[in-house]
Amino acid sequence: MIPSVKCDQDIEGTGMGETMRMPMTAEDIIVCIFYHIKKDQAKITADRETLHRAFYKMKQAHPNLMNVFSFREREHFPESTQLDQALSNLDAAGLISRQNLAPRYYRFERPLAGSYDKFSKSILADAGIDEEEIKVAAKEFGQLARGRR
């Protein structure tokens, strides 16, 4: 079951201020991990197999943090529909991108930080996930899915 938390938002200039229930999903975990990786790396691999294998390893190492990901183990590598959908959503919202002619990497885009600050950071905190654990996971993930600077 994906945990959901109450999130109080008060973002200047957006007209936001109401309280509503925001579920913690794979997107929030990835936004937080990518936010921390971004400090050291400009991009990560976009190779699907490498990413799924990396997240699978991360789930073994950090079961609590990666609880929202489930993997189907068939054929050559474990696959997660939540991961596919989350990367697709981050891409669609302009938080990450693959550049023409060099589609092998995901580049972190400026709105990634905004998404972290406005939503995902507090969603994970309210779900009881320690930021230190995210930083550790981000470091490990950065190694598993490294892209050139």
Partner: protein, 523 residues
């Protein structure tokens, strides 16, 4: 595992057994085992020949009930030709499985085929049973019963590999005691050796191991990147929706061979020069999603179906579906096995005109569908709303909590429109479809000229297609009754701005045909 979980699991297995007993084990409905094969004519694939043991299985109510389950949910309310059902599809999968097997065997000497008779029969058995666990309107009911406590407990128990819930049902039904007994009888009568264990594993995508190496190629006939299931459904759905696709299947089959990966696992492979049919399959899949499966009216009809199921889950005593005197409890995943499209709509005929369920069911039957109040897309969301768009779009993940979040958003919209008491939350839907997956490109190996195996995605960047789909074809919506379209449009704009800081251009209302479309974006 807690005692409660153990009880839920015990009852889950018992319920599947009970279903299998009624639909496969009830000897009252059983005919004598046939001695002759049967020829069936399929509009797509022509002559399909079934062996006598297959006819015996096909005659079971378990497989005959698939005639009452539409292959493409409620798509026929938009594409009237799309009335084909899971029974026709099942026959097509048997045929496609055989063609794949024949294509591979042709690559081997006649006296030493790769697929031996036992494996071939067991693969055909898997093809026959692969969808027997589907419920009413196929995947749209699956989206609902996968969140039922018995189904989540089943998967969380860790006793079963992760797979689609309908695949789990199909495999469990095949392995159930009543079906097992029947297959034993069939094996004895026809002097064959159908392997239930192998067939059920193939249905859920699990491969056999031989000296520590995986034999994926067998599984991939039923559950793989270009499996018999996909080859049939893409062709069939496209044909009946009136959007015929061009797939060069002869080329695909002629190039299909078993190869060894660097890990020593055996997999189905294609020759580099014959990858085009796979690209055609993926391109057709995108088109089917964009044009057929995610058509706004189809999605609206599906939401109305969900509203009825929600009503039934909330008030099982008054709003229920009945089959053979059994009132279904739709809070249990196993009860969905008894629900077919026919059982669903039959309730409309047995209820009086004053009954709310009579009206809800007739609203679908007579196509009084909900309308769009807002279109959510790359094109209608204002610039610099990335974080809010991400928070809304992420609700397209499957699961109970994202479903609940969308229902809460609908409730907020209803309140903002000041329509509480006039209409209910059941009439308002925030719909955010999932993106189609193109994982096939990473799961298909291609034989290169240098005899190495490479993934299709290394040779052709299919992700460009998925990006184009996301940016130009994907659309979420807010649906509501036509009478309140304007009010709900304005309320939805307000709620998305307040909750996510998400602003919309005027086109969000224009594309939804709202009478006076508004904008929350700065001009």
């Amino acid at each position: 595992m807690t005692a409660t979980s153990a009880n839920i699991l015990e009852s889950f297995y018992k319920d599947i057994d009970e279903f299998a007993k009624e639909f496969a084990g009830n000897k009252e409905y059983r005919r004598p085992l046939p001695k002759e094969p049967k020829i069936i004519h399929d509009p797509l694939w022509g002559t399909i020949k079934l062996e006598p043991w297959e006819v015996a299985l096909l005659d079971l109510p378990l497989l005959q009930r698939l005639r009452q389950v539409h292959q493409t949910s409620l798509v026929s309310y938009v594409f009237p030709g799309c009335n084909h059902n899971r029974f026709e599809h099942t026959l097509g999968v048997v045929q496609q499985a055989q063609r794949l097997i024949d294509a591979v065997n042709r690559q081997y000497p006649l006296h030493r085929p790769l697929f031996k008779p036992k494996a071939i029969r067991s693969l055909r058995l898997a093809a026959l049973f692969h969808d027997c666990g589907h419920s009413c309107f196929s995947h749209i009911s699956e989206d609902l019963y996968e969140s039922c406590t018995d189904m989540t407990t089943f998967f969380e128990s860790g006793h079963f590999p992760k797979c689609h819930p309908h695949e789990a049902f199909s495999a469990l039904i095949l392995k159930s005691e009543p079906v097992k007994q029947l297959i034993e009888e069939i094996n004895e009568f026809y002097k064959i050796d159908l392997d239930i264990e192998m067939a059920s594993n193939w249905i859920i995508g699990k491969s056999a191991e031989n000296a520590g190496k995986k034999e994926h190629y067998e599984t991939q006939v039923i559950n793989g990147p270009f499996d018999a299931d996909k080859l049939d459904y893409i062709f069939r759905d496209a044909h009946y929706s009136g959007l015929p696709v061009g797939l060069d299947l002869d080329r695909l089959w002629s190039s299909c061979k078993v190869g060894k990966t660097t890990d020593g696992d055996r997999v189905l492979t294609l020759h580099q020069a014959s990858v085009t049919p796979l690209e055609q399959i993926l391109f057709s899949k995108i088109n089917l999603f964009a044009i057929v499966y995610q058509h706004p009216k189809v999605r609206a009809a599906e939401k109305m179906f969900q509203a009825i199921i929600e009503d039934a889950k909330g008030k099982p005593d008054s709003i229920h579906f009945t089959i053979s005197g059994r009132n279904l409890d739709l809070n249990r995943a196993t009860d969905y096995l008894w629900l077919t499209d026919e059982v669903f709509f039959a309730e409309a005929l047995s209820r009086s005109q004053n009954d709310p369920l009579h009206k809800s069911l007739h609203d679908i039957r007579y196509r009084r569908l909900l309308v769009r109040a807002l279109t959510i897309s790359h094109d209608t969301v204002a610039a610099r709303c990335n974080a809010g768009f991400m928070q809304l779009r992420k609700l397209n993940q499957r699961g109970a909590s994202t479903y609940q979040a969308k229902r809460e958003l609908a409730s907020e919209i209803l309140q903002a429109a000041h329509l509480e008491g006039t209409i209910g939350v059941r009439d308002i839907w925030v719909d955010l479809p999932s993106d189609p997956s193109f994982g096939e490109a990473d799961r298909t190996f291609v034989r290169t000229a240098s005899q190495t195996l490479r993934k299709v995605s290394d040779l052709f960047p299919i992700h460009y297609w998925s990006e184009l789909f996301k940016n130009y074809k994907w659309r979420g919506h807010v649906f509501c009754p036509q009478k309140y379209q304007q009010q709900i449009h304005e309320a939805a704009l307000q709620v998305f701005k307040e909750q996510y800081g998400l602003k919309f251009k005027k086109s969000a209302g224009e594309t939804s045909h709202v009478p006076k479309p508004k904008s929350t974006a700065r001009l």
